[in-house]
């Protein structure tokens, strides 16, 4: 018997098995959420805020959490982007390989590893200190803080892929660093930057721990940044803890909505990346 062929077959089988487990888990999650949630997923879930007694199984929907999550994730993504892009550009084009740059990268990597509940607790302490109530604003700040390292490092890595000859071309025409960064590097990296932003948005919309202490929860759609805000992950959390089976079922339905949103963003990211790839130099 050929030992090498056996080895080959064995490890191939192992890889296939791993792949099946990974893809299978994804499908299993979808299946469970869909099967348990689909019966409760009605139009009113999407279009109404909770009415009196909603959490006891009465009329209403989770429009408050859908809108709240979108507000919160969008706000946090924008804030993290505004803070993260200059950092990434600075690291790439100005700081070079200095100690400061590598220290900054290390800090961002450490920040990446911090669990979001810790960010929540940290911001909560600050809120207590300044005497602020849980609100959309503080939720946005917390989520932005935990998206910041994800977004910045992703953009940093994407811009690292910009070929040297493009930067050289730009400098050879008499560009300043800022012009090179803003007009050439970021343009070449645009599809990747967009992916980083949408990835961050998906992470932001799905996180429950960071907003648990900072964003509050409400049955209403927030009218201002200082109102508390409901989010989908917390909507799932609160409903699933209910003793009423019909409310538990709605938790899964809320899960479907959350999954759908993330899926939508993911597809949008693929499509838009393709569109912006047009000008990219390979």
């Amino acid at each position: 018997m050929d030992r090498r062929k056996l080895e080959e077959d064995f490890f191939r089988g192992l890889m296939l098995l791993s792949t099946i487990i990974v893809v299978g888990s994804l499908l299993a999650v979808f299946a469970v959420v869909l099967l348990k949630g689909a019966p409760a997923l009605t139009l009113s879930m999407l279009t109404q805020t909770p009415k009196g007694g909603y959490y006891l199984g009465k009329e209403g929907g989770i429009l408050n959490a859908i809108i709240g999550s979108l507000y919160l994730a969008a706000g946090a993504t924008v804030l993290a982007f505004l803070l993260g892009l200059p950092v990434a550009l600075y690291l790439r084009e100005y700081a070079g390989r200095s100690r400061f740059a590598s220290l900054t990268r290390l800090s961002l990597d450490v920040m990446w590893g911090i669990p979001s509940i810790v960010y929540g607790a940290f911001i909560f302490v600050i809120m207590l200190y300044v005497g602020a109530r849980a609100s959309l604003l503080w939720g946005i700040i917390t989520v932005a803080l935990f998206l910041l390292p994800i977004m910045t490092r992703a953009m940093d890595e994407v811009m690292k892929m910009t070929p040297f000859r493009l930067r050289e071309a730009s400098y050879a025409l008499g560009s300043t660093r800022l012009e090179t960064v803003m007009k050439v590097v970021s343009r070449q990296a645009l599809p990747g930057i967009l992916t980083a932003v949408l990835l961050a948005f998906s992470r932001g919309i799905g996180d429950a721990a960071s907003v648990l202490l900072t964003a509050g929860y409400t049955d209403f759609i927030p009218r201002s940044l200082l109102d508390p805000v409901a989010t989908l992950p917390l909507a799932v959390f609160f409903q699933i803890g209910s003793p009423f089976p019909e409310v538990q079922q709605r938790a899964y339905a809320s899960g479907i909505i959350l999954l759908g949103l993330v899926l939508l963003v993911s597809i949008a990211s693929r499509l838009s990346t393709k569109k912006f790839m047009k000008y990219v130099i390979r």
Binding site: E168, A172, L173, G174, Y279, V280, I281
Partner: protein, 254 residues
């Protein structure tokens, strides 16, 4: 016999990459409105010498330079010098075509846009004029909005030439500008350079001796970081004075 008026004057130029001494005491003048070829085997410092002339070597980490490069009598390595101004005067065509990640039009308009605010009509004119100067206009006038990366390699290289011209430089540096191209595209670039020398000082690097013979008015032979010989192309190719030059030209090494 031609008379040469110097445009760029290189004086005791030394370049180090970390500990590596890449260029040793180079002193030579580059004539105005002529084509100067820097020849020599691979890895002997030709490209470094070329990129010293508009300080593109600054982009390489750990580079150290001593000596002077005078362009119109101004030392470009002086402290107070505006580096973007130098690169505006001294443009570069790279070895590999390197279009920017934007449309054909925006590639050519890039330089004018960053250096002087122009109204749309003037910009249109500059773009057309520069594309015409490199013989590309008739090929791309319907494709100005397309990504530059969709052009063929030869077209891309001519686009890069047009892009450099749009900045209105005095000097064009070319780093083996035809080595990545097919023979026909390469010949097109050579023809452009011969036309352009009426208005521009051109310095190009090559390790193809036949190309140097076809184009050059003046030749600089660099070997292992040293300037071995320089002079009018006629003289260097027919009566080289240094035995190393003779050996290189006869193809003993390359």
């Amino acid at each position: 016999m031609d008379t040469f008026k110097p445009h760029i004057s290189i004086q005791k130029l030394n370049v180090f990459y970390e500990q590596h001494h890449v260029l040793k005491d180079i002193t030579v003048d580059i004539p105005e409105k002529r084509i100067t070829a820097i020849i020599g085997p691979s890895g002997c410092g030709k490209t470094t010498l070329l990129k010293s002339l508009n300080r593109l070597i600054d982009l390489i980490e750990g580079v150290k330079v001593s000596g002077k490069v005078l362009v119109n009598g101004v030392n470009i390595f002086d402290n107070g010098i505006d580096i973007t101004d130098i690169r505006k005067k001294v443009g570069l065509i790279a070895q590999m075509p390197n279009p920017l990640p934007m449309s054909v039009y925006d590639n050519v308009a890039y330089g004018p846009r960053i250096h002087w605010a122009k109204d749309r009509r003037e910009l249109d004119q500059t773009v057309e004029h520069c594309l015409q100067a490199v013989g590309l206009w008739s090929e791309v006038k319907e494709r100005l909005k397309e990504p530059a990366s969709r052009l063929s390699a030869g077209q891309q290289q001519r686009l890069c030439l047009a892009r450099a011209l749009a900045v209105k430089p005095e000097v064009l540096l070319c780093d083996e500008p035809t080595s990545a191209l097919d023979p026909i595209s390469g010949r097109q670039i050579e023809t452009q350079l011969l036309t352009l020398k009426r208005d521009y000082t051109i310095v190009f690097v090559t390790h193809v001796l036949r190309q140097a013979r076809r184009l050059a008015d003046y030749v600089i032979f660099v070997y292992l970081g040293e300037l071995v010989e320089h002079g009018p192309a006629q003289t260097v190719f027919t009566q080289p004075s240094d035995p190393r030059t003779r050996a290189y030209i006869e193809g003993v090494f390359g």
